[in-house]
Symmetry: C2
Subunit: 132 residues, 2 copies
DNA sequence: CGGCATCCAACTCGATACTG
DNA sequence: CAGTATCGAGTTGGATGCCG
């Protein structure tokens, strides 16, 4: 009998993972997981939206954070910004093709989250109860 | 002619969205998007891992953050913690069924991120160049 | 070995005020 | 209308030291 084995099931070796890939994944999850991106992207899922429409549609967002988040999404090529230099100025935002493909992934993530929400909440309640 | 129409394509109305659902999605994205969760979950994808194995396997993580992140994942029912009270103590972590199902979703997110990484990097470079 | 407590630097985000 | 600038509270995460 192999004495190097322990009484509990031996952990398997972790798969070698590409740290660079993980970093890429994390960066995207961090972007989409920040405070407002989900709401903004979701609102644009149905087509172009004016700045003011997004502002009204997303309860509680400050002008600053809406601008900032849209800039970041634009920088990553997920959102297209179109300025109409009228008076007053008009700016529309819409998902790019890339942004739309991300939106689809986010939807599947969303399905998972909704499907397992109660399971997570139960786990939390149990954990919190156990740790007085 | 309808004077309410503008010269650029009229934005469509945003779909009504369930804010509560969005909050759920955001919470999960925020958990998985924090600095270390992706790496940790990914390492556990291949089976149970000891605390020290995770620590060694994840370059740059502090003990504090490993403990903290594992606690949060455990609290959400994504990770199972098993203590063997030997000397020295031994603690193993593994994905629960729920955690594994999230891991699958994260993989599809990962596929997207890897497939579009260069596209995002190009967009960033262009954006940064444009804004001097 | 695994983990908690403390301290501190860096960043995030909201409030507010001002501009073309 | 859409955006920028500034300030301050709150949060995140790293370093360090101690404990069973």
């Amino acid at each position: 009998m192999d004495v190097s084995a322990t009484e509990i099931s031996a952990p398997t070796q972790a798969q070698p993972h590409n740290t660079n890939d993980c970093e890429t994944v994390r960066a995207i999850l961090a972007r989409t997981g920040d405070k407002w991106s989900v709401l903004i992207v979701k609102m644009m899922g149905s087509g172009p939206q004016r700045f003011s429409a997004l502002r009204r549609g997303i309860t509680g967002i400050s002008q600053r954070m809406l601008t900032l988040t849209l800039r970041n999404l634009e920088r990553d090529g997920l959102v297209l910004r179109t300025v109409t230099p009228s008076t007053p100025p008009r700016v529309d935002y819409e998902l790019t093709r890339l942004g739309h493909s991300l939106w689809i992934i986010m939807e599947s993530f969303g399905q998972w989250a909704i499907a397992h929400r109660s399971e997570i909440e139960t786990a939390r309640a149990r954990f919190d109860a156990r740790n007085h």
